[in-house]
């Protein structure tokens, strides 16, 4: 019971702090799970992160399910996963109606234009930071460029997941 409560509190904290996408959440998850709670060793954490990046879903949720399962079985994984999303849901329940209301204001709409450009900045940065980890040579770069070209050429006609899986099979052959 005590471990369930600990899992809940730790991952709720990660849920509040995990802001701006998975890449930002990683140091926070590391701090909480490896240094503070010592649930995983540094090596286990790296393995978890590798698995989390290659499996679908947000990294914070993957980490919660994984650590929760190891220390509290199925119930532990459910508790930890719920704890990660609960803070965002609570905030959204409160904030979403306000956003609807504020969007009618011309100044807010004007501000929103800048915020959207901010998201674009973050996406460009994520391309760079995720790319510098995943792409390690010319062959990788060519594969990433090919994936990009196919996505542009068949926009709306081809499901992006097909490109990802095709690249995976190509990886089995050439990497």
């Amino acid at each position: 019971m005590k471990i369930l409560l600990q899992l809940f509190l730790s991952f709720a904290l990660i849920g509040i702090g995990a802001y701006g996408g998975g890449l930002v959440a990683i140091p926070l998850i590391q701090h909480e799970i490896v240094f503070k709670q010592q649930w995983l060793s540094f090596g286990e954490m790296s393995q978890l992160l590798a698995v989390a990046q290659m499996t679908p879903g947000p990294i914070a949720i993957n980490a919660a399910t994984f650590v929760g399962f190891r220390f509290g079985g199925i119930i532990g994984s459910a508790v930890a996963t719920l704890a990660v999303v609960l803070p965002s849901i609570t905030i959204l329940v409160l904030v979403a109606p306000l956003v609807d209301f504020a969007s009618k204001n011309a100044h807010v709409r004007h501000l929103r234009q800048g915020l959207q450009i901010g998201v674009l900045s973050l996406i460009l940065f994520a391309t760079w930071s995720f790319g510098s980890g995943a792409v390690t040579g010319w062959r990788d770069l060519a594969m990433a460029a090919a994936a990009f070209a196919v996505l542009v050429a068949f926009e709306g006609k081809l499901h992006p997941v097909i490109v990802i899986l095709a690249s995976g099979f190509l990886g089995m052959i050439v990497l």
Binding site: G57, F101, Q116, I117, L122, V150, S167, L175
Partner: protein, 206 residues
């Protein structure tokens, strides 16, 4: 509070003329697919989400998608989950939001459970690593594609480009927390970008 929500929803329905009355299971199923097909987490998922919600199902227009993405990025927590909440809520209120979040989380929950339980040793096999590495490389292309899609919409003037570069400098050069990039871009956009142009943009959207 409840009344307030339904009234705004009602107005939105009148505004955008997009498909509504989506069944709850349809919401769950779409977000289940998004959750299943989202590698790389966070912003990489925008490509899959846009494909499913904007291009395929036509539940939302491109411009509203962008606006809601900025809200999802500003709120703490996983962007995919925040986005699921906002989209589900817009389509079917609180029940829709819960269906969307449940759908988004379920695939990763089940997959990680299976991995933690039985499949962890397989991740050391070279063929499996090569496959997963190949997937990760394509995610880079997917992120670049998301960048292109949004740049096409947003970088219509040199002022917007300056705001975008400023946001990039905040995270890439100063290595500050992404929230500062959002704040800097929001503030600079407000000061620099033409208000009437922004209004025009809004009009195009509705």
């Amino acid at each position: 509070m409840k009344n307030n929500i339904t009234s705004t929803e009602h107005e939105e329905k009148e505004q955008d003329g997009i498909k509504h009355n989506v069944p709850l299971f349809g919401i769950f199923w779409t977000f289940f697919r998004i959750g299943l097909f989202t590698f790389g987490g966070g912003l990489a998922m925008t490509t899959v989400m846009r494909h499913e919600l904007v291009l395929k199902r036509r539940w939302i227009k491109e411009e509203s998608f962008l606006a809601e993405l900025s809200t999802a990025t500003l709120v703490p927590g996983a962007i995919a989950v925040n986005m699921a909440y906002l989209q589900g809520r817009r389509l079917r209120g609180t029940a829709g939001a819960m269906a969307a979040i449940f759908g988004t989380i379920l695939p990763s929950f089940v997959i990680i459970l299976l991995i933690a339980w039985i499949a962890l040793p397989y991740f050391a096999k070279p063929k499996v690593t090569a496959f997963l590495r190949g997937c990760a490389i394509a995610v880079v292309g997917q992120l670049a594609f998301a960048g292109l899609v949004f740049a096409r919409k947003l970088l219509r003037s040199w002022r917007n480009a300056i705001v975008c570069i400023a946001g990039l400098i905040v995270v890439a050069v100063f290595k500050m927390h992404p929230v500062w990039a959002m704040i800097a871009a929001g503030g600079m956009g407000y000061l620099l970008c033409n208000q009437s142009a922004a209004e025009q943009n809004e009009k195009d959207q509705s």
